[in-house]
């Protein structure tokens, strides 16, 4: 925050600048990049990533990290669809899965807040647990289709609001609501205090432990929302996504956007900017017909450059040095 006020270049600004430059370069050199439909396609392509990053951002600002998000996203949705395929009513299936998702969030929170397990390990373990449990007990194959009876899910996936696909709308809503919560509610301000200095926040009388549980419940629910939106668009959910690089992409969006992993910094604006940069980058590279391996290489190189520039411009202070990053 202080860096922003002092007017120096923050990582967020660097990334924003980079996104603008990239956008301009693509607009000039790539035919068809600037067409309205392509811009909508860019937004749509990063919507699910962005929604996940909203949840991850909330947790990271509070100095945590939720590595179980992609597992919850895929497995909760797959379980719900599997139940519906087996004839359970949509309402009942949704209620059961809601309870399951909340339970995962509460379990994460309890492990971190009360058992004091570092968030990286707690959520990494719960991710494996969620995947293993659902994969072995509740579904029989990787891909679970949306049942034909649940046409409302398909219609939801096709819906548009002011010409915007529903995914984009949901990303905007999730980011805006989170912005409001972080900015204007007590909970939101406490998240910053907690992320900035956990001990001090606790001494002040902020109920840090219940708040941690709350954070992880919210991130789990947001992950489930991302899964439902994915299923609505694709008419199925494929649990293979748990093995993909999606989780790292989510962290990439959060970090590249400028929410420091040491907590207490940044906001939803960073998530939106991070997601846009990734979207613009990938879209342009696809138009250029770059193979996937090169796309990953370029993505990783840009992340490294962003991190190096950030650490040059914003050197670690004494407080971060003492508390350590994740």
């Amino acid at each position: 925050m202080s860096v922003l006020k002092s007017g120096t270049l923050s990582q967020e600004r660097i990334v924003f600048l980079f996104a603008v430059v990239l956008f301009a370069a693509y607009a000039v050199f790539l035919d068809g990049f600037l067409m309205a439909n392509n811009l909508v396609a860019i937004l749509r392509s990063v919507s699910v990533l962005g929604i996940l990053a909203v949840g991850m951002g909330l947790v990271v600002i509070g100095r945590g990290i939720d590595l179980s998000m992609v597992a919850v996203m895929a497995m909760a949705t797959a379980w719900q669809l599997a139940m519906m395929n087996a004839g359970t009513s949509p309402l009942l299936a949704t209620t059961i899965v809601f309870a399951g998702v909340v339970a995962v969030g509460v379990a994460n929170g309890l492990l971190i807040a009360y058992a004091e397990v570092p968030p990286v390990f707690a959520t990494l373990a719960s991710a494996s647990f969620v995947f293993g449990l659902v994969r072995s007990r509740f579904i029989v194959q990787d891909a679970v289709p949306v049942p034909p009876s649940a046409s409302f899910i398909l219609e939801f996936g096709q819906a548009r609001l002011v010409h915007m696909p529903i995914e984009v709308v949901m990303f905007a809503v999730a980011a805006f609501l989170s912005f409001l919560v972080l900015r204007f509610t007590k909970f939101g301000r406490y998240v910053y205090y907690m992320g900035d200095n956990y001990q001090a926040a606790r001494t002040m009388g902020i109920p840090v432990r219940p708040m941690i549980i709350g954070q992880y419940v919210v991130s789990a629910l947001i992950a489930w929302l991302a899964g439902l939106i994915t299923a609505a668009g694709l008419q199925s959910i494929n649990t293979r996504v748990v093995n993909s690089t999606l989780l790292y992409d989510v962290i990439l969006v959060v970090v590249i956007g400028g929410i420091g992993l040491s907590g207490g910094k940044g906001g939803m604006r960073n998530v939106v900017i991070g997601a846009l940069l990734i979207g613009i980058m990938l879209n342009g590279m696809t138009i250029l017909n770059l193979p996937n391996i090169y796309q990953n290489l370029i993505k990783a190189t840009i992340l490294l450059i962003a991190l190096v520039i950030d650490s040059r411009l914003n050197p670690r202070d004494e407080q971060v040095g003492q508390q350590g990053d994740i």
């Binding site: 035919d31 067409m35 990787d142 199925s236 649990t239 990938l282 879209n283 391996i293």
Partner: protein
């Protein structure tokens, strides 16, 4: 005289006694006993890329039934798309006390398992590669000739486009390391050489991920809305490509050609027009080939590594017009049969 007669009678009786049961046992067919000695108790292990998709479940059921049927021991390992986990499973099996007689491996790429295959063969284990080839020629490969498969896809796409069309085709490839993707591309390129008026306008990778397929297909259609056909290298990712075509409102204009295991979902997608053509792998026939090969190798007296063969599965491009009851197999039925076995 009497002693002689008695002796003869006793001898005759003894002979009768000796030959009777022998006659009952040997019909003159040495087969069953030989098969029993060669196959009974032999362990066969399937290591697919993952057990959770249609092809692997089909193999597990159809080959598993045959192996159990000849008195063998059938096992599977599930690396769940993790190459390292698959390598670990193979290593463990090679060094286990109860060594398998044969490994059926669905290789993830051209090179990762090559050294392990050699080690398995040196340890006396037959290695049959299934579906995806690698750079190492083991005892046998059973699966698609992916180049032929690509040719079939390209021909289906060319036919779907027709003469009056834009003659522009988009490809959604898998990746750049897996033989099934590389060889499919080679096959498609080969056919398009004979149709110089046709052009590939974009060929992004899905990395075998359905969401990525949707994103790259959206971009491809955005850049080239005039394409008349898209070939997606796998029916699983084609679900994402189909979503992109639907989003772009091009369902009637862009024909989607893909390849898959011929499970019911493929037939359903052909029926409702989501897919225009699917080059189907005949899983039942392929499983039968593998079973026959196992029976042969284990009886042949051959040592692992001594002979090589390639058994290519017959592939056909299926369109809506070709659909008949029984064109596709049902994963549901296979799973029900497996569940009944487990009880």
């Amino acid at each position: 005289m009497t002693t002689k007669t008695t002796l003869t009678r006793t001898l005759a009786a003894a002979l009768c006694l000796a030959t009777l049961p022998a006659l009952a046992q040997e019909t003159g067919d040495p087969g069953p006993a030989y098969v029993q000695s060669a196959l009974a108790g032999k362990k066969v292990v399937l290591i697919p890329l993952a057990l959770g998709f249609d092809l692997a479940q089909g193999w597990n059921h159809y080959i598993g039934s045959e192996v159990r049927g000849f008195g063998g021991v059938w096992e599977t390992r599930d690396p769940n798309w993790d190459t390292a986990a698959g390598a670990q499973a193979i290593t463990d099996l090679i060094s286990s006390a109860d060594k398998p007689a044969a490994l059926l491996v669905h290789t993830p790429d051209l090179t990762s398992y090559s050294k392990l295959f050699k080690r398995a063969q040196d340890a006396g284990i037959f290695v049959i590669q299934v579906d995806n080839r690698s750079n190492f020629a083991s005892d046998a490969f059973v699966g698609s000739n992916w180049e032929t498969l690509g040719e079939l896809e390209a021909k289906a796409a060319v036919a779907a486009c027709g003469d009056g069309s834009s003659k522009k085709i988009g490809l959604i490839q898998g990746d750049q390391v897996n033989s099934s993707s590389l060889d499919q591309y080679a096959g498609i390129a080969k056919v398009l050489k004979d149709h110089p008026d046709f052009e590939i306008v974009g060929a992004p990778d899905s990395n075998w991920d359905v969401t990525t397929a949707r994103t790259v297909a959206t971009t491809l259609l955005q850049q080239h809305p005039e394409v008349c056909a898209v070939i997606d290298f796998w029916d699983n990712t084609a679900a994402g490509t189909a979503a992109a075509i639907r989003d772009a409102g091009l369902t009637d204009k862009v024909k989607l050609v893909t390849t898959g295991g011929g499970e019911e979902l493929d037939c359903k997608a052909l029926e409702d027009g989501t897919f225009h053509a699917v080059v189907m792998t005949d899983v039942k026939g392929q499983s039968r080939d593998i079973s026959a090969l196992l029976k042969f190798l284990l009886q042949s007296g051959l040592k692992p590594g001594q002979a090589k063969s390639w058994l290519y599965t017959l592939e056909t491009a299926t369109t809506k017009a070709d659909l008949k009851p029984g064109t596709c197999w049902s994963l549901k039925d296979v799973q029900a049969a497996e569940a009944a076995l487990a009880k």
